[in-house]
């Protein structure tokens, strides 16, 4: 049986402690009160500070539906900071250019290859948008030409907590205007049989970015799929 990701990262973290900044090691010590904390990666080239209420809504759902001990404060860590190597889960999003600096590229690669989990969301929800084109190019340069692949819609991530038959449809995809905005798949980079980079062109961050008081107007809580992503990241 494979080692759960959190343990894996904790072990990996000890190995990396030598090269990690003190702040990073300290962060893990502090976070041991929690099973999960939400890390947003900031990066130099683009607009990473998007969908600012999305983490709060996701954390709220984790508390509502699971027994995870959750730190309710989002942590923003630069991708270039080795402290990110300790995070059990990272989120990265934007509309604009993705072009990693050397330090960012090194950390991203190291984190992914050592059992980390990054959820990357294209805020343009557009396969021809700047974010999509440049992020995909960045992944090819780090992990090889065919590293990013569509995952099947019966992948374990779709049944990690709630059951879905593929990525749930977003409100934007209801338009049906054929403007290339409907994505009935997610892509991923698989490392050791598990998703290490989950990549969405669906703009899920925007879908989950709203005043929490407005959740009651939804027919169904649309953040349920976020619970699956986190649970998969923590247990796969």
């Amino acid at each position: 049986m494979s080692m759960p990701r959190r343990k894996f990262i904790k072990n990996a973290c000890i190995a990396f402690a030598a090269q990690a900044f003190f702040r990073g090691a300290n962060a893990w010590a502090q976070s041991s009160d929690y099973d999960f904390y939400f890390t947003r990666l900031s990066y130099e080239s683009g607009d990473w500070e998007v969908d600012e209420r999305m983490p709060a809504n996701v954390l709220n759902s984790l508390i509502e539906y699971t027994s995870l001990r959750v730190d309710i404060k989002e942590r923003i860590i630069p991708l270039s900071d080795p402290a990110m190597l300790n995070a059990p889960f990272c989120y990265m999003a934007g509309h604009r250019l993705v072009q990693f600096s050397d330090a960012e590229a090194q950390n991203f690669k190291q984190y992914v290859e050592n059992g980390g989990f990054v959820f990357v969301d294209d805020c343009n929800h557009d396969i021809d948008g700047m974010f999509a084109k440049t992020f995909e190019a960045q992944m090819r340069s780090l992990f090889g030409e065919d590293a990013l692949q569509k995952i099947p819609n019966d992948h374990p991530i779709y049944s990690a907590f709630f059951t879905f038959d593929g990525p749930p449809r977003t409100s934007i995809e209801l338009n049906g205007w054929g403007d290339d905005l409907v994505h009935n798949y997610l892509k991923a980079i698989i490392v050791n049989g598990k998703i290490a980079v989950l990549y969405s062109n669906k703009d899920l961050g925007c879908e989950w970015d709203y005043d929490f008081r407005n959740k009651r107007w939804l027919k169904e809580d649309n953040t349920k799929f976020a619970v699956n992503i986190v649970l998969y990241a923590m247990t796969a």
Binding site: R213, N214, W217
Partner: protein, 447 residues
């Protein structure tokens, strides 16, 4: 042709009823007399006059109803249309939800008729078009517009003694003014009961300003923005919401006002709709008022039932929902006819005041091509058009490319930052609104 007077209508409809052999008979007389002028490429292209009179006869035997219409008014024709409606009634299946027609009713005084509008001449229309075309030409822009004025008459009489008569005047004007290269576009509209309030030069100057200001639009990323919606931008979403207010749709679980009972809970006695529930920001107050000075409407519905002032939403709470006479009886509630003119209260801020207080946002002139996506959450999609601008630190900075939006008026009316002074638009009174987190889902290449 002139508008039929109340006396004339009464005489004509009484005669129609004398031909009836049905258990119940109800007739509607509808007339419209008006004129219009259309211009494009800074030139008047059509000028028209229209007059129409139609008689609608509805006959009922037991629970079978038939309807026939005619626009000939000699005695033989009147008898012919009554017979035709009776023949159709006999062929019709029984209506299990049949409700009898209403008896005699009392109506409030109407203030829907303005002599000034009834007296509009072709010369007046030509002048109104000139006042729009001339400044457009001077600014090297291209105007296209349409002006229509009309006097409408509506009379109802039935075999139970009901008689209602009303005349209403209406003038509608809209103009699109574009730059010669077609890259900039501005739009303005005005609709009034009293033509004296219409100033096509003033409205055109707004469209001119927007046209010049909207060329060379910059692209902005889709996402959630604070928006200032001019009344023409929010009216479509509000009207769609009010059209979805029907009690029966809610009671039968088909609308955003259906009261969903949690799965597994014992909900047999739970209310079926959201009447009395707070659903919106407490500043939201939407009502109808046939006597409204600027946006009046006839004091009776199409079935002759009186229309009076009524709250639909007060302090953000659902106060009343329209229904049909059958559904009112079925649910043991009062019959509440729908009303098409909505008055939404606002504040006293002007559009300029709202702009001044905006750090970062988008000014939307209007939304168009609005289509429903989900009746349960009232999610709509559509496009901005004819003047979309980026606001920074209280000033319009530059024009931006049009967006497609995905938004629900429920969410919109929970995200109110400020409301301005209501203006008449499409027969309603709607304030400009400053709304946070308005969802723009993608960019549009349309001008």
């Amino acid at each position: 042709m002139t508008i039929i007077t109340e006396q004339h209508a009464k005489k004509l409809l009484s005669k129609v009823l004398t031909f009836s052999k049905a258990d119940e008979c109800e007739c509607n007389l509808e007339s419209k007399v008006g004129g219009n002028i259309r211009y494009a490429r800074n030139t008047v292209s059509t000028s028209g006059q229209e007059s129409d009179l139609i008689l609608i006869v509805q006959s009922t035997f037991g629970k079978r109803t038939g309807t026939a219409t005619i626009n000939e008014f000699d005695d033989a024709s009147l008898e012919k249309v009554v017979r035709r409606s009776e023949e159709l009634a006999k062929l019709a299946p029984e209506n299990e939800e049949f409700m009898p027609v209403f008896g005699k009713q009392k109506y409030a005084k109407a203030n829907t008729y303005f002599e000034s509008t009834a007296d509009v001449t072709p010369e007046d229309r030509a002048q109104a078009a000139f006042d729009s075309i001339e400044p457009s030409k001077k600014n090297k822009l291209i105007a296209a517009g349409f002006l229509e004025d009309a006097v409408e008459m509506s009379a109802i009489m039935n075999s139970k003694g009901l008689f209602a008569y009303n005349t209403a005047t209406q003038v509608d004007f809209s103009v699109t003014i574009r730059t010669e290269d077609g890259k900039g576009s501005g739009w303005a509209s005005g609709d009034y009961s009293d033509v004296k309030l219409l100033d096509t030069a003033k409205l055109s100057s707004i469209a001119i300003q927007k046209s010049k200001g909207s060329a060379d639009a910059k692209e902005m990323e889709p996402g959630k923005y604070t928006v200032i919606l001019e009344p023409a931008a929010s009216v479509g979403l509000i009207q769609n919401m009010m059209r979805a207010f029907d009690q029966r749709s809610a009671d039968e679980g088909r609308s955003f006002l259906s009261n969903k009972v949690a799965k597994g809970s014992k909900g047999e006695n739970a209310p079926k709709n959201k009447l009395g529930q707070k659903m919106f920001d407490e500043r939201v107050h939407i009502h109808s008022d046939p006597q409204h000075a600027i946006a009046p409407s006839a004091p009776f519905a199409g079935n002759g039932y009186p229309l009076n002032k009524i709250d639909w939403i007060k302090d953000g709470t659902i106060k009343n929902m329209p229904n049909s006479p059958y559904w009112a009886k079925h649910t043991k509630s009062d019959y509440i006819p729908a009303n098409r003119n909505f008055i939404m209260d606002g504040g006293d801020q002007s559009l300029e005041d709202m702009l001044k207080n905006t750090r970062r946002g988008v000014l939307v002139t209007r939304l168009w091509y609005i289509r429903g996506l989900d009746p349960q959450t009232l999610l709509y999609t559509g496009l901005t058009r004819d003047g979309t601008f980026y606001i920074e630190n209280g000033k319009i900075k530059y024009p931006i490319k049009n967006f497609r939006f995905n938004e629900s008026p429920i969410i919109m009316l929970n995200n109110i930052e400020a409301l301005g002074e209501p203006q008449r638009i499409e027969g309603c009174m709607i304030p400009p609104m400053k709304i946070r987190d308005f969802t723009f889902s993608s960019l549009s290449d349309a001008v």
